[in-house]
Amino acid sequence: MKLRYYILRRVLLFIPVLIGLSIITFVISHIVPGDPVGLAAGPGATPAQLDTLRRAYGMDKPFPLQYGQYMLNVLHGDVGRSMMSGHSVLDDLRTFFPNTLELVILAMLIALVVGIPLGVVAAVWRDKWPDQLSRIFALGSISVPAFWLAIVLQLVFAMTLNVLPVGGIYDSRSAMPTPHTGFLLVDTLLNGSPAAFGLALQHTILPAITLALGPVAFIVRILRADVLETLNSDWVKMIRANGMPEGVILFKYVLKNSLIATVSVFGFIVGYSLGGSVVIETVFDWPGVGLYAVKSALALDFQPVMGVTLLIGLLFLVVNLATDLTYGVLDPRIRYG
């Protein structure tokens, strides 16, 4: 009952946070210098065209009224329309967000699958060669700029070895699979086409690896430190003295007790990756929400910027809540209320 109350309270707190976020974004996007109307109307637009466009986007009204109208529309499910493309922002988010989410999920899976064993190995073989190797790998992963790594991967796997595509989400010489959910990998499975799934997966591999490397480094270093600390605790010494097998100690008890900090960081990384994978999306021409947000921001197309901000903000809140709830699963001593 307390957990439900806690979740409800946290969900209710989403509202003021999102309102605050919307106000900040709305104010910033309106006070930065620039002329989105002139840009959208194009060169040589007549004064009448400029006025029409300004009116159509409510930009002829006082600022508070513009914000009020925008939020009223949002409450009615209308997140606005791009001034540049004329697209409904909601439709654009439906198109681009699944691509980003799919990429982030795959990247995070890679990060966990690689990062957790490496972190544990580094701690168990502290200061031995596996630890040194994992340290070099982690430092290298975090130091290498994503755009550089992306281009190197393209050069090696697309150009030299010619085993993976250079970019995009699907094979240029094949028909796009019929969409069902917007998640390409899922859609290819729903279409019952393993070949199409394979093609989609091939396109995801390089961007997912590039996106995963940073998080891998974080996970390895944080987990290593926590596992070391746990391994040195008295209760581990006690169960080891009682003759419990090392594998059980490590994976059943030590790992579980060392994951709290990693989960905190991982939650943050997931939230950040959802909106911040723009470099990877640009290099790999991955039509995701990060690229959409940056393009809109550069054109001062404020309605898509607002839409993306609210979506990413909401996701951050949800991921944070999920992270907090995971603490309780990992450590039953943690109580909510």
Partner: protein
């Protein structure tokens, strides 16, 4: 029924049952996992295998091959011949222009081409935007009244309009349409469709309407009969055929999908045209697949034709180069000069470097000190090191030899351009109050555009020789546009790229003062804020005259005026650099960044033969 089809059917049943609430979420998930698990396993094995060869048959159903033979003469257009019979660019009645057949004779099977386009096409609505990507795709699915892709300088070739007449004052225009053209649903392209399309463009007031709104209104287009269009302009305009670039839409289809916004939302990813291609799939932000209309009414001008093409969005030129080399793409449209040696070194690739209309000017604020001083502007024109800039872009820049690029009709080489001459520069500076320098100029350029920054660095280096400092200010594009509204907020120097297909627009949009000296201000084109009533009068006169000799003289006078007043420093024409697989045939440069897919075909026998 195949195994895949069975799986597909089972998934659909499951999905349908779940949506209707007949099964629980858990049952749906179980069912989907059971089917999907096996599929995923198969797929993983496939994915781990070698990548399919770029030109191999795709493993998923490929874009359907056309059902008719590639070179079968079109049933509806026996006389199609766009490239051989050009409508005279003069509005003087040219008489009937007979179209002749241009069917290719080769028996090459049409294939699909993959095009790496550097820009997204968020819409294909012919009344909407004017981005190069949208224009390139739109002209493949929509026919226009004229074609302009026959070469560079651009001719005005017939398309839907086979001949036209203009009144001597350039206000009344009569356009005669072909009766052969058919929309993709089989209905004829009539005068009513032309009227509907132009009026819709005017009504929506999007960038595509910008060149029409000053000269037309809702009553301008009349249809005396099914294949005749009469256009009465609100102001005389002699270049009308060059601005009627909008695709002609099927009115019925657009009205059927009106959606309360004049079909704008529907037309973002659907088409209502009569062009040589039709949309197969439209994945916003990713790829656009078009397939050929085999019996296209105007026929196919090349040795063969394409079965279709995919416009894949590839923003980074490095990715474009890699994709070309790995044979993933057949054409890439925005390569950088740095990519050329690697592309040209490949036995299966070639490149094309052409200079069209995209022109870089350092715009000077003519209303603010010190650039309001004509001598100071002359000083700047002679002080800039044009050759140094050319070297910074590996020589791939065409320094302007006049105030407009060479390929533009009525370009007059006798007017001349500027060359670096520090002695001349010194003489002009000596006539100004800043003979000893001691001032700082702001130079604004677009953040991230290295070539604009390089121009700024050359300004900085050159002007430092005269004790003048240059403050390099990077700004995002909307900020620059806002800064160009009025002289007060504009910097002394602003690096602007612009370009037009129609000669008068170079003068009208850039230096015609009513376009900035108004309540709503100007745009980036008017950023020099030139104000000269004599010049304005000449622009109005040249836009109205239909007399070729008078036009030529007026354009010479206008170019001379701009050269002598130096409102801006004309710097260079940007190259259009495209990379091609050798098997791509039929490319013809027409001044644009992209290609005309209608003219292209693929010939595998030429894959290792570099074009001469």
């Amino acid at each position: 029924m195949s195994l895949d089809a069975k799986k597909h059917e089972r998934i659909n049943e499951l999905f349908s049952a779940y949506c209707r609430g007949r099964i629980s979420r858990r049952d749906f998930a179980r069912g989907a996992v059971a089917i999907g698990g096996l599929t995923a396993l198969q797929a993983l094995l496939t994915a781990c295998g070698p990548s399919p060869a770029p030109n191999a048959a795709p493993t998923t159903p490929p874009i359907a091959a056309p059902t008719t033979a590639p070179n079968v003469a079109p049933t509806s257009a026996p006389n199609a011949a766009p490239t051989t019979a050009a409508v005279a660019p003069t509005p003087v009645p040219p008489g009937a222009t007979q179209l002749t057949a241009t069917q290719g004779t080769s028996k090459l099977a049409p294939q699909n081409l993959v095009y790496a386009g550097g820009q997204d096409a968020p819409t294909i609505d012919p009344s909407d935007r004017t981005d190069y990507s949208i224009g390139a795709l739109s002209m493949q699915v929509y026919d226009r009244l004229f074609r302009y892709e026959g070469g560079w300088p651009q001719p005005v070739d017939p398309c839907l309009c086979t001949k036209y007449e203009a009144s001597p004052d350039g206000k009344e225009w009569t356009l005669h349409l072909t009766d052969k053209a058919k929309f993709h649903d089989g209905s004829p392209v009539t005068a009513e469709a032309v009227q509907f399309s132009i009026n819709r463009t005017l009504q929506l007031q999007k960038p595509q309407a910008n060149s029409l709104l000053p000269i037309m209104n809702a009553q301008s287009v009349q249809t005396p009969d099914q294949y005749t269009v009469k256009i009465t302009l609100t102001q005389p305009y002699s270049e009308l055929p060059r601005v009627l670039v909008q695709g002609i839409m099927n009115p019925k289809l657009v009205k059927d999908n009106d959606g309360g916004d004049n079909g704008a939302t529907w037309l973002q990813n659907h088409e209502a045209g009569s062009g040589p291609f039709t949309i197969k799939s439209w994945t916003v932000g990713s790829a656009y697949e078009l397939e050929a209309v085999p019996d296209y009414w105007q026929g196919w001008p090349g040795g063969s034709r394409l079965a279709g093409f995919t416009w894949k969005i590839v923003r980074e030129n490095t990715s474009q180069r890699i994709g070309l080399i790995s044979k993933e793409f057949d054409v890439a449209d925005t390569l950088s000069a740095d990519d050329l040696p690697q592309v040209d070194a490949q036995p299966h690739l070639n490149s094309a470097v052409n200079y069209g209309i995209l022109t870089g000017y350092t715009k000077l604020n003519d209303q603010k000190e010190p650039t309001n001083n004509a001598d100071f502007r002359h000083f700047l024109a002679y002080a800039f090191d044009y050759e140094a800039f050319k070297q910074t872009v590996n020589g791939y820049a065409q320094i302007l030899t006049g105030v407009i690029p060479q390929g533009i009709p009525y370009f007059d080489a006798s007017v001349g351009g500027f060359k670096t001459d520090l002695d001349q520069a010194k003489q002009f500076l000596a006539k100004t109050p800043w003979a000893n320098g001691g001032l700082t100029l702001d130079y604004v350029y677009v953040t991230g555009l290295s070539f604009e920054k390089q121009i700024g660095e050359i300004w900085l280096s050159q002007l430092s020789k005269f004790n003048i400092n240059v403050n390099l200010i990077p700004k995002v594009w909307p900020d620059i546009v806002a800064g160009c509204k009025a002289p007060d907020g504009a910097p002394s120097m602003n690096m602007i790229f612009t370009g037009y297909n129609v000669t008068d627009q170079w003068f009208f949009y850039q230096w015609y003062s009513p376009n900035w000296d108004r309540q709503t201000g100007g745009d980036f084109n008017t950023c020099s804020f030139t104000k000269d009533s004599n010049f304005n009068g000449l622009v109005e006169k040249v836009r109205a005259t239909t007399d070729e000799t008078e036009k030529k003289n007026l354009y010479r006078e206008l170019q001379t005026m701009i050269h002598s007043q130096v409102p801006d420093i004309p710097i260079y024409v940007q190259p259009n650099i495209l990379g091609f697989s050798n098997r791509v045939q039929g490319y013809k440069y027409f001044g644009a960044i992209s290609v005309d897919f209608w003219r292209l075909w693929l010939d595998d026998s030429k894959a290792t033969v570099k074009p001469s």
